[in-house]
Symmetry: C2
Subunit: 114 residues, 2 copies
């Protein structure tokens, strides 16, 4: 069992050089005994973005704060508080903060690598 | 791919007679092609609660709004905005709304039954 305030979990900088101002908090992961999927909070600074990429393993996203944009399948979709997004594996996507003053934060659940 | 505001997803009443004022929105599920885990928003009305129970399949929880309590392993833990909780399978637990005016809402991710 784990019970934690998300802000108490360390914010790690995204190592990908194709991202800007993006970080991640691993809220629940294999290190906590989670056998199937991991819950992370992604934080993107004003004017920042995640890499435009695709990969194995789906994303299930829920926007916690801020305003952003999701580029996916040739579209640009809005991200606001309460938006849920399912991104299947191998679908190219990029998250960007649409604000120049406020950070964008969203829950992103991924399968544990087996 | 699915992109949706959580409030646009139907709120279904919990069928369990051991719950009170509890409902669920299936934000992302097998019906959307999610292969491994499902994201739901649980909503508990003021003074309501979920059943005290245990089951196969873990929960990964993130509190979206309101104030509540989690009974687990002989403890009562607070649930506030931004609380993340990992509940392993077979661990007895119960969610309760601690407010008599405001609803409690939390994301609850569960494995897809295979």
């Amino acid at each position: 069992m784990k019970h934690v305030d998300y802000k108490s979990v360390e914010l790690e900088h995204f190592p990908d050089p194709q991202s800007k101002g993006a970080g991640i908090r691993w809220l629940i992961s294999e290190a906590d005994g989670a056998p199937n999927f991991a819950m992370r909070m992604i934080e993107i600074e004003p004017c920042g973005y995640s890499p435009l990429h695709s990969h194995k393993g789906e994303h299930e996203v829920f926007v916690w704060s801020g305003q952003g944009e999701l580029k996916i399948e040739g579209e640009t979709l809005p991200l606001v508080q309460g938006t849920a997004v399912f991104i299947p594996e191998d679908v190219e996507h990029q998250f960007a903060n649409a604000s120049d003053t406020e950070k964008l934060e969203f829950i992103c659940v991924v399968p544990v690598k087996k």
